[in-house]
């Protein structure tokens, strides 16, 4: 059953002059009740009551804030609050009870002569944690324009989301209005801003739709800017999300986060970096894939024609360990500054571990790594693309010897120039291979620029990881970096 949002509440104007905001459930408000009546009489003050409509008394100077709209829209944190109102808007405010301040504020002397000089106020009902979600929906929900879907009382809300085919197979968090509003607080961008056009349906995706899917994936609001930037990146013509989805190969978007935001939101760049256990890593990639599924309409068996898929197609995002790296980061190598937060998306298949526990020199380690990479995708494949995740213990070999990123890449590539006679069709009794015309030459295992390197992983373990790629640029997918803005 679908219904459109019906609740729209405009900001109410306050009565001009002096206004007090109070609630009966506040000992200080009860204490100053005689003063409120006195000021109504001597200064024509209006009292706005949050709870009991007849507090401090049933009178024409008492107004009931029955839906808390006055308190919500005029940012009342404390009761009692005194306001000076001009043209419906407060120009000055005073919180709690302090006789001297009240007398100065109102210009009326001898207020509450029997009362103590000072008492602090209480929290306003409009900031009560049990009410803020409901109030946010009541007063801000109209800024969201997505269709409201009602889940009947007898339906299990988690099962209901499966039934609507909105899940990647794991449970999704029900995207209630309150949760989506909280998610939207993670960005300064307007909910209705169009971020990208999502393949394969070529559907416009707004900040709001991304926020809904981020809620479902389990993101926290401070992850939202990363998800938005990643959606923007995969929906470029360069990245070619349609092809990445439609291919029969095992690939999906791999999301690498660089810069301060990775540390601020607690992304993992250390132990088990490509695995489970970190909320940001686990949910950011998942949110991006849910956008492709739900907004773009890209589902397995539909436009997603992958023969095997890959575990990481549920979503894969991780951060580079920049603090522990002797090298410039992936983002810096792609022209961004170290203080910029960026997301880099690369199309890759499953990762393979590279084990070397005995090399003590960078030369030995690099040559062994190259030998391992010759089987990337398959030994007969050339001019491919890869993403290497170098572990800290392997990186220490390069640090100790003073090798930088460029030196490593040059040395690695020198070991990856392959004899085409070994790669042509029929060579070594294997039908697969390069066309005959390639014989008698050398060819790179990876195209120039086709090796992407990041530093990440646990402090202990002489391992690195290598992802296999897909159809290299410009025909397939181009590795794409976007700056993350809040």
């Amino acid at each position: 059953m679908h219904t459109m949002a019906e609740i729209t509440t405009a900001k109410p104007l306050l009565p001009d002059g002096l206004v007090a905001i109070v609630k009966e459930d506040c000992p200080t408000c009860v204490l100053v009740a005689p003063v409120l009546a006195d000021l109504a009489d001597r200064a024509s003050m209006t009292t706005i009551t949050q709870d009991n409509a007849a507090f401090p008394q049933a009178a024409d100077w008492v107004v009931h804030d029955h839906d808390l709209a006055y308190s919500w829209f005029h940012d009342i944190d404390t009761v009692p609050t005194l306001l000076r109102v001009v043209d419906g808007e407060p120009t000055e405010r005073l919180e709690g009870w302090k006789r001297d301040d009240w007398e100065a504020f109102t210009g009326i002397n001898d207020l509450g002569a029997d009362l103590p000089d000072w008492r602090p106020g209480c929290g306003s009902l409009s900031v009560d944690p049990n009410r803020t979600d409901e109030l946010a929906v009541r007063f801000s929900g109209s800024t969201m324009c997505s269709r409201r879907v009602e889940i009947a009382a007898l339906e299990d809300e988690w099962e209901a989301l499966y039934d609507r085919d909105w899940s990647d197979g794991l449970p999704v968090v029900p995207p209630t209005e309150a949760r989506v509003l909280r998610m939207l607080e993670g960005t300064t961008r307007a909910p209705d801003e169009i971020v990208a056009v999502v393949p394969p349906d070529l559907a416009d995706v707004t900040v709001e739709k991304i926020a809904i899917n981020a809620v479902m994936a389990g993101c926290r609001p401070d992850y939202l800017p990363v998800v938005i930037a990643a959606v923007e990146a995969i929906c470029t013509d360069d990245f070619n999300m349609h092809g990445v989805l439609a291919t029969t190969m095992d690939v999906g978007p791999i999301i690498i986060v660089n810069g301060p935001i990775a540390r601020e939101i607690g992304m993992n760049s250390g132990g088990n970096v490509l695995g489970q256990g970190n909320r940001a890593n686990a949910t950011i990639g998942r949110a991006v894939q849910l956008v492709v599924r739900n907004v773009g309409g890209g589902k397995p068996g539909g436009v997603d024609r992958s023969a095997h898929g890959s575990p990481h197609k549920i979503g894969l995002a991780f951060a580079e360990d920049e603090v522990g790296s002797p090298w410039t980061s992936l983002a810096e190598s792609r022209g961004f500054d170290a203080d910029q937060s960026t997301v880099t998306v690369w199309c890759g298949g499953g990762p393979q571990v590279f084990v070397d526990q005995l090399s003590r020199t960078p030369e030995s380690l690099t040559k062994h790594f190259a030998n391992s990479l010759k089987t990337n995708l398959a030994p007969k494949m050339a001019m491919m693309e890869t993403l290497l995740v170098i572990g800290p213990e392997h990186m220490s070999r390069f640090r100790d010897a003073g090798w930088d990123r460029a030196r490593f890449l040059a040395e690695l590539d020198s070991h990856l120039q392959l004899d085409t006679d070994d790669l042509i069709r029929g060579a070594d009794g294997i039908d697969e291979g390069l066309p005959e015309a390639f014989a008698g030459n050398t060819i790179g295992k990876f195209w120039p620029g086709g090796i992407h390197v990041v530093h990440a992983g646990g402090a202990t373990g002489l391992f690195s990881m290598a992802f296999s790629g897909w159809v290299p640029p410009p025909k397939g997918s181009v590795c794409t970096t976007k700056e993350i803005t809040r």
Binding site: L161, W166, P175, E208, I212, N213, T247, N294, K475
Partner: protein, 91 residues
Amino acid sequence: MTTVLDPTSESRPEQRELVPRPESLDGLTIGLLDISKPRGDVFLDRVEEKLTGLGASVTRFMKPTFAKPAPVDLRHEIATSCDAVIEALAD
């Protein structure tokens, strides 16, 4: 009762009518789209022979890469110059 927000594009698929099936191929222009997979041309050469034998005229097209959807201009050219199109996937 819980109310949730629709995470989809909210676009309902339009029902699209199929073009009527031609009675015969005689005099029709058939487009053959090679998607640039290896040996797609071998397959389409044979299809072209068969079609011309049935009286159709054949126009050949090729996508720049099998990895991306056909460019808009190419789709437009096929749609405006052919009565029907056959797309070849080969490996």
